[in-house]
Point group: C2
Chain length 102, copies 2
DNA sequence: ATCGTTTATCGTCGATTAACGATTAATTAA
DNA sequence: TTAATTAATCGTTAATCGACGATAAACGAT
């Protein structure tokens, strides 16, 4: 209505709102946040290692990883009997940019 | 363990993780995100106006505002029979800073 | 082919969330 | 004082979440 020529901070698209909310939802649990922070620190690791770090059952950790993956924050690649997880840098960056527009 | 002298991005405190997760939870609903965006645009407004903007019942909007207030993102001041809401800039800033550390 | 390791999925349970209408409380206007 | 306006709270309902143990699936090693 008035910021027709504002370059840095235009209004968020409708789809962006939904996606940002979905990512927030994935990050809204302390255990999942810790998983993300752990993956940031060590870059990549398998599910089993996360299980040793968190006070949660293996199935619960697997569930949290599934949620993070569904939100796009995390990528998983099967390597033999194990699965290696890492952050998706692009999605992380997108999230931060959106957060900065709030 | 190795970043003993890294100035910009030290590890998050335990309490910070909890708080960040709690704020994410508050932002994890599209309606609440829209409320935050609306408050950013118009700076401050009463509950009734938000009701006209969102396709939700008055009681539902009031609940969402309560959740945003509990998370610290929003402040409300009673002005006669109505309540005026606005964002808490400091909390918003804290959230963005934490997000940038992910 | 079988065993051990690792991870994902299933089923269950209690707790929490989201939404609504109805009601109550607070305040202004008539 | 009464009526109208505005917002918060209550009570209910269906749906979702979070956690777990048990089980199944995938794979490497023997």
């Amino acid at each position: 209505m008035d910021n027709c020529c504002a370059p840095p901070s235009t209004e968020l698209e409708t789809g962006d709102v939904e996606r940002f909310a979905a990512i927030c939802k994935a990050l809204a649990h302390p255990a999942r946040l810790r998983i993300v922070l752990h993956l940031k620190r060590i870059d990549r690791c398998i599910c089993g290692e996360i299980v040793t770090v968190l006070p949660l059952a293996q199935s619960t950790v697997s569930q949290h990883l599934k949620i993070l993956k569904a939100a796009g924050l995390v990528k998983g690649s099967v390597e033999g009997p194990r699965t290696c997880y890492c952050l998706d840098g692009e999605v992380m960056t997108w999230f931060k940019q959106m957060a900065n527009r709030l």
